[in-house]
Amino acid sequence: MSSVDTRLACKPSDYKSDVVPVWCPGCGDYHVLLSFTRAFAALGLPREQIAVISGIGCSSRIPAYTNCYGFHGVHGRSLALGAGLKVTRPDLTVVVASGDGDGYSIGGNHFLHACRRNIDMTYVVMDNRVYGMTKGQPSPTTEPDFDTALTPGGTGLSPFHPLVIALASGANFVARAFSGSPNETADILADAIRHPGFSFVEILSPCVTFRPDEREWKSMVHPAPVAETNDPARAARRLMTDDGFNIGVLYRGERKPYRPPFGHPSIDIAELEKEFEL
């Protein structure tokens, strides 16, 4: 996280842009937006010190709704954009937002290597276990018995387990939150942003249009029954038996974040342009 000047601190609403979200009423992403703004305010981050980067999908619209620097990028490539930004501008607080399709399918390989590289940024995946923007196709986290006109009889495929993958790939902070508890989610996000290295936060964020059954999540989530650990082996055992609804910080590692060896080079634009002269 960049250094914080609390004299410039804003209130949560200052981090919300004037663009009115177009998510479906009832969508969990509205709550996630509230959590983002509350976390930024709690950390006292100046707006110009934050960059919210995203890919494609419903959740990836969030940079437009925050009043910080933002980039609505290419499908599945939000982590590549975020990593590039962070290594060139380590003074910025970089928060990358994605969904389960964008982040785990199209951007699955970037996810693995972002965990491995352990660059100091926060990756937030709003997981609704469906491709909402394209009208209800199964995503990597969809249950095998998701039986719809698009998937008659269900997919029959084992879902992807993002927290296990994140841990095994080297993420330095692994947590799960629920969108319906925005204050608690804001606390987890603030914790993730503060923690050095690559922090991964999966937010269960219901899609009420294509997965109306997910309205029940609010009665299914529960606090993680065990305290967080810094031991990857213990965290792995817990995550492998996880029911998917444990909420809280599940792993807080101590790996040193990656920083490029050259620091923050000063580049003369004229020199750079010479390389591209024909």
């Binding site: 209130k11 609403s13 009115v20 979200p21 177009v22 998510w23 479906c24 009423p25 009832g26 969990g28 509205y30 709550h31 509230l34 509350r38 305010a41 709690a42 009208k135 209800g136 719809t148 006109a149 698009l150 629920f178 969108s179 319906g180 508890s181 925005p182 204050n183 608690e184 804001a186 219901p206 009420v208 249009t209 294509f210 309205r215 609010k218 989530v221 529960h222 909420i247």
Partner: protein, 174 residues
Amino acid sequence: MSTAPDAHGISSVAELLTIAYRIEADAVERYTMLAEQMQQHNNTELVKVFRDLARAEGIHAEEIRRQAGTIDVVERALQSPWKKGESPEEADLGDAHYLMTPWHALQMALAGEERALDYFQSIVDTASDPKIKEMAEEFVEEEAEHVNLVHRLLRKYPAPPASWSEDSDPPNQA
């Protein structure tokens, strides 16, 4: 998962006033968001209902600000986020639906007012400081009035038929 904040850690009247202000301000934020959602989805009847609810909560917030006098509850509320749980009067955005009716909106409001009532009642029941207890009792009376007001409004808007969410051209074809 959503739980009300801890009612037992209040140590001063200023803190109680700040919390009361925060509850109303949070409700304004939620109802405004719901009005915006309904605007985006062309449910114009609900836009008015949620705007009216936001306006009513804003008036309550302003009353508390005046009552607080020299205590700057606005600034204090900004500096003191909920320690645990969610603001009791906040509507659950997850309960929204693009075809919801004024009855549904008022049910959301009623649930929020009842949670706020329970919250202040729990302070009355547990506070040892007589000044805090007395002020919490005032807020209980206030919230009870709000509950009655929503009940009166609900008489104008009976429950919709069971088919209220049926859409001849639904977004979900699956």
